[in-house]
Amino acid sequence: MLNTDSNSKNMNVFMYKFWSDFSESKVAVISLLILIAIVLIAIFAPLISPSDPYDLSKVSIMDSRLPPMAKNFAGDIFILGTDGAGRDMLSAIFYGLRVSLGVGVMSAIFALIIGTIFGISAAFFGGKYETFIMRIVDIQLSFPSILMALIILAAFGKGIEKTIIALVLVQWAYYARTARAAALVERSKEYVEAAQCLALGNKKIMFNHILPNCMPSLIVVGTLQTAHAISLEATLSFLGLGLPITEPSLGLLIGNGFEYMHTGDFWISIFPGVALLITIVSINLVGDQLRDMYNPRLKK
């Protein structure tokens, strides 16, 4: 599309335009900052956590169910308290964010790739192939996502790969629908015709020419779907169907705290829930702003 020297300049112009549009909403900017902080926490969890919650030699059952800001005998302060096994909640949440974000983002990326390939090729080739793909998409979207995930995990068992597979299978259809809609618009444009006149391969036209122009709407859907994936994974793990105990995501932490709730030890499940909520809300708010930016109906 572009030659290399003008590429970086164009990129700068693009980034400038992007930021000036994005920063129109203060809420979105704040959400983005929070989101960046969350991602940094997730990446550097082992470095910034007060203790390693899964190092059995450091965790003492004597410290179990301490309320927030309590001290143990050694004088260590637990800012968010401890859980039933004596783990520091703050550290457990940092590690949990890592797992939750990792699974959510991974499944979103796989679903994006699979959905985009089917969506763009459906729009490009049309005909029976398109009808077939879109029928599958329609049928799948008529089942609630939690039900699809439940069917897959109940039939195939739990585990980290299986959870990711279930999330991908649940979500690819959303991307396929979006990619097809965007690609249908692009397909009738002149540059595609020009590329076809140059006898470029179908693959090249689809992925080097059409795909970059479908990216904005795919990114919007991708952002919102990542939030959905994180929430769905948390729900499945809470139900005991998603991740195993060796990969404690936020959903699993909330589930662990659930059994202590009737005794009033609220912090064990409330704080991981707050972390989950902040993550999901900030992703959704960033996604909402992106959608408004790329919605042609709202363009001035």
Binding site: S142, P144, A155, T235, L239, H262
Partner: protein, 324 residues
Amino acid sequence: MTAFILRRSTQSIIVLFIMSLLVFSGVNLVGDPVEMLINPEADQAEVERVIKELGLDKPVTEQYWYFLMNAFKGDLGTSFIFGEPALKLIVQRMPATIELALFSLFISLIFAIPLGIYAGLKPESKISKTIMAGSILGFSMPTFWVGILFIMFFAVYLGWLPSTGRGEIGSFLGVRSSLFTLDGLSHIFLPALNLALFKLSSVIRLTRAGTREIIHQDYIKFARAKGVAESRVINVHLLKNILIPIVTIIGLEFGSLIAFSTVTETVFAWPGMGKLIIDSIYNLDRPVIVAYLMIIVIFFVFLNLLVDILYTLLDPRVRVQGSN
């Protein structure tokens, strides 16, 4: 019209077939079906008898045929834990789930429609902005966590409402339900509100969008111009027209309420079929899992078919498309 229904029915049968294949392959190909479908405490003679009965000594394609035939006869196996037919267990728990879903549908509609209309009529007001911000929050909060908050606040901290079980079950006109006793109502309130919250946000958004669109139509302007009272414009002219999309999505929403009730039922220990499936997965009670999955798939396929047919009745444009 008939062609449309016929085509959709064929499609439903194909979906059913594919889903049964998915469930079958999950249970019979990934793991060892003998280990999965036969009670681990059964003796050798019993194991051999069941292998024969289920056709597990036959080739895979024939096994699938057996599975389908048994499912057709309503024989979906016997629960290891309860020692009763899986189908019977699920049917027993179905009313509790349906009652919960219906009540929460009711809650979400009586709250969401007025709020949505208000937000649509006065989009710039502070209250509307609060409503919309609240709907984003409602959209983002995972159902299970909200349920935990409810229990924490209303049941543990305030001690106002019970947090587990179905309470006393009353009987009215032969229908047995928690809705007919005060104790039952106090039990259903929290789980139903929890389940409703999720739907509340989407119905608010839908109502608001519909209101904003319809309020600018000529017939509303005309009604106002001829001096019809504002309350009548909203309650009759506006409401009637936004109800069409809302009523049509209720079918699908009801389905997703049933699906999400697995979560709410687990949190509130509501004895419905959602809790049964989760418990069965914990206990590795495979026949119940298979039976639940088959029933829920059939349920959804029929629900979708019903909604499709309803659409064609309510919206002539779909009918025209379908007949092409």
